[in-house]
């Protein structure tokens, strides 16, 4: 029993892997069966994650070792940080599955879609539970591969181009990352994630090498985390179906990159080492540039999803910024944004998908007056947008609040300017949009179609409300913020 319990991360991984396999086996004709598999898998995972969450909360750390080579093992582990990401993924998997079922109700190739979708979640879970760099890399690449079919799912030439861009960036990034990982193993003999890092003893003799490796690792991870100038794939990848975009932007891909950076900074290098090598500032500057650049580019976009995509570019770097600043409060801000950005961005993309699916709206100028027809969707969109701007009491505010406080306590006042600039820029690209949806007259004929179908609306409402709740009840112990505070407490 205890061995089974100890191997919890493995089971969590398996729920979606088995789902993927079953979905593939069931294939196109067995639609009902597939749905059952999907939903069962997602619910089961949620339950298991819940059990794990309880365990970790009580201070237990799960770990599974699968030796691979004499000095190399696949390690699946669950610490508090893992659970942050894992819970987010598990919850959003279920939600996105429901959404996707409705979204793709009449689309072809659904078996393929859901199969890879589940694989994608498996990879994400793997990333969350990876206990060393090697394991992390394995799932990181698996994620790349599993996501590609989703990006090109439509099969039209635009998707193909996007898919190619996606692969070129991510595979190149993966390659660079791999080089970094190999160097770490060669240098220190271990890539285990140890709270506080394990490279400190090398700082004196190998500082140059450590910096190089850090750059390699972050460049590799930065591709997925969409750090400028490695973000090129992300805006093009928005041609994918809405659930995929949601997944890419909110949960799986960009988060994997950001999560990786967190792991590298905290559990491989350790904050002290990163700061003493001067890497924190470098990372913070890169993140800041990304934040500003992404926002500026978002302003220029005329396509809704594209604008959201650039918004992601900008927002994900909050996470990086938070950990780069390096004070506990900023860390809290960065880590909690992992969840918050996920909730908010998934809401936004769900809404965009709802608009597209219900009214065929893609361009921003077509959104005029949609708020009257789809009040609930638009309300949730509004919440998401305000969250992005950082308006309280939404989740985004909690992030910004802690980031700002962290920056002040670390004495890095310029970060506040970045935050403010980002706020303003976010307002510049979201507020006119909101004005449009609520206050402009609709251009379309009223065709009697109103709100999105329940399968789409349900998830939208869920995530929207969740993003409010995450902000509103932030001080609650089980809120994302509460959990992150637990993590940071254990970390420092």
């Amino acid at each position: 029993m205890s061995a089974l319990y100890e191997a919890m991360p493995l089971w969590v991984l398996m729920t979606s892997l088995v789902t993927a396999v079953l979905v593939f086996i069931a294939g196109e004709p067995w639609q009902r069966l597939r749905v059952v598999f999907n939903v069962t898998g997602a619910v089961l995972k949620l339950v298991l994650v819940g059990i794990m969450l309880r365990g970790v909360h009580h201070g237990h750390e799960f770990a599974v070792h699968l030796p691979l080579l004499p000095d190399l093992a696949i390690v699946l582990r669950a610490d508090a940080l893992t659970m942050l990401f894992a819970t987010l993924s598990a919850v959003l998997w279920l939600v996105t599955t429901i959404y996707a079922l409705a979204y793709l109700e009449h689309a072809p190739n659904r078996a393929r879609f859901f199969g890879f979708f589940s694989l994608c979640v498996t990879a994400t879970m793997g990333i969350a539970t990876a206990g060393n760099l090697f394991t992390f890399f394995i799932f990181y690449e698996m994620l790349t591969l599993a996501t590609w079919p989703l990006v090109v799912h439509r099969g039209v030439s635009r998707s193909m181009t996007a898919g190619r861009a996606y692969l070129q960036y991510t595979l190149a990034g993966g390659a660079v990352f791999l080089l970094g990982v190999v160097l770490i193993y060669a240098l220190s003999g271990s890539g285990d994630f140890v709270a506080g890092g394990h490279l400190r003893h090398l700082a004196d003799d190998h500082s140059g090498m450590l910096i190089l490796i850090f750059v390699l690792l972050v460049a590799g991870l930065g591709v997925k985390a969409a750090l400028v100038p490695l973000h090129g794939w992300l805006p093009t990848a928005m041609v994918a179906p809405a659930p995929v975009s949601a997944l890419l932007h909110a949960v799986a891909v960009v988060k994997a990159g950001a999560f990786g950076i967190v792991r590298v900074v905290y559990d491989v290098y350790g904050v002290d080492l990163v700061q003493s090598l001067g890497l924190g500032d470098m990372l913070a500057v890169a993140a800041s540039i990304t934040i500003i650049y992404g926002s500026v580019r978002a302003i220029q976009q005329t396509d809704l999803k594209r604008r959201l995509a650039f918004s992601t570019v900008s927002q994900v770097s909050y996470i990086t910024l938070g950990i780069a600043v390096g004070s506990p409060l900023a860390t809290i801000g960065g880590l909690v944004h992992l969840v918050h950005q996920g909730l908010m961005k998934i809401t936004l993309f769900f809404c965009a998908g709802g608009y597209a699916e219900t009214h065929g709206i893609h361009a921003i100028r077509e959104l005029d007056g949609i708020g009257r027809r789809m009040p609930w969707t638009t309300a949730m969109f509004t919440l998401g947008a305000f969250g992005m701007i950082g308006v309280p009491p939404l989740a985004g505010f909690i992030t910004k609040w802690h980031l700002g406080l962290g920056a002040v306590s670390a004495g890095q006042y310029w970060v506040i300017l970045v935050l403010l600039a980002s706020t303003v820029l976010n307002a510049v690209y979201f507020l006119p949009l909101l004005h449009r949806v609520w206050f402009r007259a609709s251009r379309q004929e009223d065709n009697g179609v109103g709100e999105a179908p329940p399968g789409l609306l349900g998830p939208i409402l869920f995530t929207g409300v969740a993003s409010v709740a995450a902000g509103l009840f932030a001080a609650f112990a089980w809120s994302p913020l509460g959990w992150v505070e637990l993590i940071v407490e254990r970390e420092y």
Binding site: L72, M142, G155, G163, L171, A175, L178, L179, V182, A186
Partner: protein, 481 residues
């Protein structure tokens, strides 16, 4: 009993093949399958024995070297035998599809295939320079007729080119053997080393001829020109064997020679040259693969590229590189066989393999596409797969020895592989617009689909079986561990 296993591993399939030729189409497909099963069983026993007892030797005719010839099953031979058995089993099952019914062609196929299997086993087990020459010829001369099975009309030019290179390569190799014998007075791999070590120019020339001859057989750039037409036009099952095993056998010989007879020579520069050839193979093969318009040619050029990785062992020459190179050979063998079998199913179904005209194959050919995808992962060296473990080991070795340029080669090679593989997947399986394939052939039966799939799965699984396999391999010969 154990010491007889190497002999059985060679002569079960060999005799089976000869008798198949004798029997003609009678006994199809029971006889060849029975032989194949026996062979697999025998090889497994042998590998098991090697795993538990260490290497097994068998002096043929009771004559010990230097007079006689020795069969030797050490770790390296064992893993290669295992690879042959795995791929061979899959190919044997697959061949039931195209060659299951009695026909002259089927007779020839099974006879040649069993002979080839036996020849490969003989090659891997041989510990004698001249005997290796004979086995090389055996392998070549059973492989070329197999290529012709696709129909002499379209393969004869390829076969002729293959033959010319193979023949010339063998003779070059034989020249090396001649000079070596002149120097050492012996042909046994283990015994010629010292004489070569202080042989001066003659030893250098001998080594050059041995390596050069084998390079031709291994289709290493620039001597690869015979490979793509041959592998690209042969029947699927044959292409699988050729790419997975036959060229691999030649590279195996390089590894073998380097660690035994040539170990005494000071080969640092040669090692770098071989590494450079490997790198050239990786780049050139990948780029050519990327440019091809036919699916099978893509896969064939991919072989050209992948063989290059194994050559990276030479400049790195540490234990990890050894493990990595050999494991790469194994992983590539399994994955490439899967790719070729899957490709064969595509051709059987569509009737051609022109990339741009393929689309929407993932429904009728779900299993094959799945197999292709899985195997591709290994070819690209992405985790979790055998190819990745191999790449990891090689990378570690490159970093460990401070030869970062080989690490760069490895990384870029992986990306290039991704480029051409993804191009295939994109065209064949995901491209939506345009008409679906005009169905020209039946959907491949389970017998044809599953071997590819199982091999593909194995390619992935090999990401997790490295430890026992490398334990069987037993480390770099002569390395102080």
């Amino acid at each position: 009993m154990t010491e007889h296993l190497p002999v059985l591993a060679v002569f079960l399939p060999l005799l089976g093949g000869v008798l198949q030729f004798l029997l003609g189409s009678r006994g199809l497909p029971v006889w060849p399958l029975a032989v194949a099963a026996l062979t697999v069983g025998c090889v497994l026993l042998l590998v098991g024995a090697v795993g538990s007892n260490g290497s097994i030797e068998h002096a043929i005719g009771g004559w010990d070297p230097p007079l006689g010839i020795r069969l030797r099953a050490d770790g390296l031979a064992a893993v290669m035998l295992l690879l042959t058995a795995v791929v061979g089993a899959a190919v044997s099952v697959y061949a039931l599809g195209p060659h299951g019914k009695a026909s002259p062609q089927a007779t020839h196929f099974w006879a040649l295939w069993l002979l080839l299997w036996g020849s490969l086993n003989a090659l891997f087990l041989s510990a004698d320079l001249f005997n290796i020459y004979v086995t090389l010829e055996l392998v070549t001369l059973s492989a070329i007729p197999l290529v012709l099975l696709a129909g002499p009309g379209k393969t004869v030019a390829a076969a002729l080119r293959y033959l010319q290179f193979a023949l010339f390569g063998s003779l070059l190799y034989l020249l090396g053997v001649a000079i070596t014998y002149g120097l050492a007075g012996s042909l046994d791999l283990a015994l010629v080393g010292p004489a070569l070590a202080d042989g001066g120019l003659a030893a250098g020339l001998a080594a050059g001829c041995l390596i050069g001859g084998v390079l031709v057989k291994a289709a290493i750039v620039p001597c690869h020109v015979w490979l793509p037409p041959a592998h690209g036009n042969a029947p699927a099952a044959v292409s699988a064997v050729l790419s997975a095993l036959v060229v691999k056998a030649a590279v195996y010989l390089l590894l073998r020679f380097w660690t035994e007879p040539l170990a005494g020579l000071s080969g640092t520069l040669v090692a770098q040259l071989l590494g450079a050839l490997g790198a050239a193979a990786i780049f050139y093969g990948s780029i050519q693969a990327f440019r091809q318009e036919r699916l099978k040619l893509v896969v064939a050029y991919s072989t050209v590229a992948q063989l290059g990785y194994m050559l990276l062992f030479f400049p790195l020459a540490v234990s990890q590189a050894w493990d990595g190179a050999v494991y790469h050979g194994l992983a590539h063998g399994v994955a490439k066989a899967s790719l070729f079998l899957a490709t064969g199913n595509v051709i059987a179904y569509v009737g051609h393999d022109r990339l741009r005209e393929l689309r929407g194959l993932d429904r009728p050919l779900a299993l094959s596409v799945f197999a292709f995808g899985l195997a591709s992962v290994s070819i690209m060296g992405l985790p979790p797969s055998g190819g990745f473990v191999a790449k990891w080991l090689l990378l570690s070795a490159a970093v460990e020895t401070g030869q970062w340029w080989w690490a760069v080669v490895l990384i870029i090679g992986g990306l290039l592989a991704a480029a051409y593989i993804i191009r295939v997947l994109r065209y064949a399986f995901l491209q939506a617009p345009g008409p679906a394939v005009d169905v020209q052939g039946p959907v491949p039966s389970a017998v044809m689909a599953w071997p590819a799939t199982l091999l593909g799965l194995l390619a992935i699984l090999m990401g997790f079986t490295a430890a026992p396999t490398l334990a069987l391999l037993g480390g770099l010969p002569g390395a102080t561990s």
